[in-house]
């Protein structure tokens, strides 16, 4: 039994060494993915921790020929979605109406760009994104912070490419209304 245990300890060290090589380089992108999903440093740290522990527990079954980055992102996504269930129904008509109303009163988009850029920090933007409904948030984060293509997002979230586009379209509109409201309430917009 001792020899068996020593052999397994050696095996475990090899496993750790492989895990270190394949998983650790993606820690920073994953942390930033978690930051965008949660909007909070502490929550992002917890999500990263959970992701790596789950990954390590299943690493002996991981096919090392598969893209480890995608594998880790998927684990993080599943961990996140297990605690943040997508809203079953979103009343998008209301959001659309509100968006159209703002759009009419803000003809000059270039001036809005300056207002947003000059007054909102990266933390502010992350917080706006983190308040979006989960299904919109996920596609925006994957597209605009991780540079995933529609095809990659579709495969990752398991939805058609057309749905990816549609969610991005609506999600950005909602994000716009949130940023606009915040800028207005802080007096950046008259």
């Amino acid at each position: 039994m001792i020899f068996l245990l020593l052999a397994v300890i050696e095996d475990q060290r090899k496993l750790y060494s492989d895990f270190e090589r394949l998983a650790f380089p993606h820690m920073e992108p994953l942390f930033n993915f978690a930051l965008w999903l949660t909007g909070h440093d502490k929550e992002a740290g917890k999500l990263l921790n959970e992701t790596y522990l789950k990954a390590f527990n299943f690493f002996d079954k991981f096919d090392q020929s598969i893209d480890s980055r995608m594998w880790l992102f998927r684990i993080m996504q599943n961990s996140f979605l297990s605690k943040h269930k997508p809203e079953a129904e979103i009343n998008f008509n209301e959001a659309e109406e509100y968006y159209e109303k703002i759009k009419k009163s803000s003809k000059d988009i270039s001036s809005l760009e300056k207002i947003f850029t000059n007054n909102f920090s990266d933390d502010d933007i992350r917080k706006f994104v983190s308040t979006l409904p989960v299904q919109f948030r996920m596609v925006i984060v994957l597209s605009d912070t991780q540079n995933f293509s529609y095809e990659q997002i579709a495969d990752f979230v398991d939805i058609p490419e057309g749905t990816v586009m549609s969610r991005l379209h609506r999600g950005r509109k909602i994000l716009f209304t949130k940023m606009y409201d915040s800028a207005k309430s802080k007096g950046y917009i008259n």
Binding site: M1, L4, L5, A7, V8, I9, D11, Q12, R13, L15, Y16, F19, M27, E28, P29, F31, N32, L35, W36, D41, G45, L48, N49, Y52, L53, F56, N57, D60, K103, K107, I109, L112, E113, F116, T117, F120, S121, D122, I125, R126, V129, I140, S143, D144, T145, S149, Y150, E161, G162, M165, S166, L168, H169, R170, R172, K173, L175, F176, M179
Partner: protein
């Protein structure tokens, strides 16, 4: 072709998912100010997120915590990790099973020098009955119902008195058979023998082993019965008297006397 407004998003993202739709939407953006504004909102929001997407390093505390948890020999996941390996899991399971078996065996009394007498209790207990009978004999409250040196006479007497099992009447050089009597417990008759010699009384109660047990007319503890089954002879010194319990030819014998333990063992351990 019907115009789908959400294709302005694909255009903003430079995703060529439907070239026909993209051409159509591009043309429409030039002609329709409202759609153009939508397109710019899409670009603005994309820019707002990508422009503020400054990579933040993983806090040291978080990184250290993860490394610590997955490192061999240090992490809390190391042991579960090892135990999740089939070889070790089966090995560990085998060790646990062996350990449980050993524990179970260790729970059983170590018969060597084990105090079985402490386990004997209750009115139906054969040792207690024998001790009481011996005391009654010594105090003159009990008398032999038959006085005879002839084993056959005593055997016949037992049968006549309703003892259903075949009583064994041993003969000793040193101890003289004096007689016997019959006792009754729970409608079962039992053979009692009395021997004498050197001013000492030796009393023997015997019973068929088949009537032993929880619902039997008399009983002994399971451990003691097991000990006897293994061919052992048990002796104890209680209240100044010695007791010996042994089994022979399907009968259990309890010998109570004032003899020393050594003498009792030497004389009565073997009834054959």
């Amino acid at each position: 072709m019907e115009l789908r407004k959400d294709y302005i998003t694909a255009l903003a993202d430079k995703e060529n998912i439907d070239p026909g739709q993209l051409l159509l939407i591009e043309k429409e953006i030039k002609e329709n100010p409202g759609l153009r504004q939508d397109y710019h909102v899409q670009l603005l929001m994309k820019q707002a997120v990508t422009g503020k997407n400054k990579f933040r390093p993983v806090p040291d505390a978080v990184k250290k915590k993860i490394v610590k948890k997955v490192s061999p020999g240090e992490g809390i996941n190391f042991l579960p990790g090892i135990l999740s390996r089939p070889l070790v899991a089966y090995g560990t399971a085998a060790i646990i099973i062996i350990a449980v078996i050993l524990i179970i065996f260790n729970l059983a009394p170590q018969f060597e020098d084990y105090d079985f007498a402490a386990e004997q209790s209750g009115e139906n207990n054969m040792l207690i009955q024998a001790e009481n009978n011996f005391k009654a004999l010594a105090e003159g409250r009990e008398f032999p119902e038959i006085i005879s040196k002839n084993p056959e006479d005593i055997k016949i007497f037992f049968k006549q008195q309703g003892v259903e099992y075949s009583a064994i009447i041993p003969i000793y050089e040193r101890w003289n058979l004096s007689g016997g009597f019959v006792t009754e417990e729970n409608n079962t008759k039992f053979a009692n023998l009395i021997y004498g010699g050197s001013g000492m009384i030796i009393y023997i109660l015997q019973a068929d082993e088949n009537i032993m047990g929880n619902n039997g007319a008399v009983n002994l503890s399971k451990d003691l019965l097991k000990y006897l089954d293994e061919g052992n002879c048990y002796t104890s010194l209680r209240n100044g008297n010695t007791a010996l319990i042994t089994k022979s030819s399907g009968n259990i014998f309890v010998v109570v006397s004032g003899l020393s333990l050594e003498e009792v063992k030497k004389s009565f351990c073997n009834f054959n």
